[in-house]
Amino acid sequence: MEILLFGIAKDIVGESRLLLEGEHSEVVSVGQLKQFLKRKFPGFTNLTSFAVAVNSEYAADDVPLGRNDEIAIIPPVSGG
């Protein structure tokens, strides 16, 4: 499962993409992905908030993650 990273999320992880291999097969929903990121990269716990997008739509915590979904981490937006 590949995850796109933007803004400060990219800085926290140090990459613009994060690959979750078989050993992370417990990450099957948006909520679980958020928990996983906070555990693995403590920088995420310091953010104001962050959202997850699935197939370029904001996704609630109970949305499942599929192998072919486009998944992205959306830190607090600041356009305009």
Partner: protein, 139 residues
């Protein structure tokens, strides 16, 4: 003549917006342009850098446009955001609407920029002389 114009571009050309929003049934056009300010909390900004999740940003901008069309009677509407490095006084975003009467285009224009800032996946990094800061990232 499309009613909605949505774009993410490298550079914003402000001189075209009148012809983009002008419409035979419109008596009023309201436009908001956001640009780079020289100071944030007394600290001198060298530049801003904008990053976007383009596919999603365009989708969210389209949703905002459709919400505006459902709230107000608008003839034309534009949402355009820039990406990349922008220096002081450079335009970074332009939104606007045209309508028969002015109240509608004013209210819609304010809604467009407020909602864009709330929801569209675009990130702004402030570049100061000695540091960079992702805006709004931390409490």
């Amino acid at each position: 003549m499309k009613k909605i114009l949505i774009e993410i571009v490298d550079t914003i050309d402000t001189s075209q917006v009148y012809s983009e929003l002008s419409h035979a049934q419109s008596g009023g056009i309201c436009v908001f342009i956001g640009s780079v300010r020289e100071f944030t909390d007394q600290e001198e900004v060298v530049a801003l850098e904008f990053e976007t999740y383009k596919a999603m940003a365009l989708k969210e901008m389209e949703k905002i446009a459709n919400e505006a069309l459902s709230k107000w009677d608008l003839n034309k509407l534009i949402l355009r955001h820039a990406t990349g490095l922008k220096k002081v006084e450079e335009p970074v975003v332009i939104v606007g609407a045209s309508s028969s009467h002015r109240t509608e285009c004013f209210e819609a224009c304010r809604f467009l920029i407020d909602t864009l800032k709330e929801r569209v996946p675009i990130w702004k990094k402030e570049i100061f002389r000695n540091k960079t800061v992702w805006v709004s990232a931390h409490p």
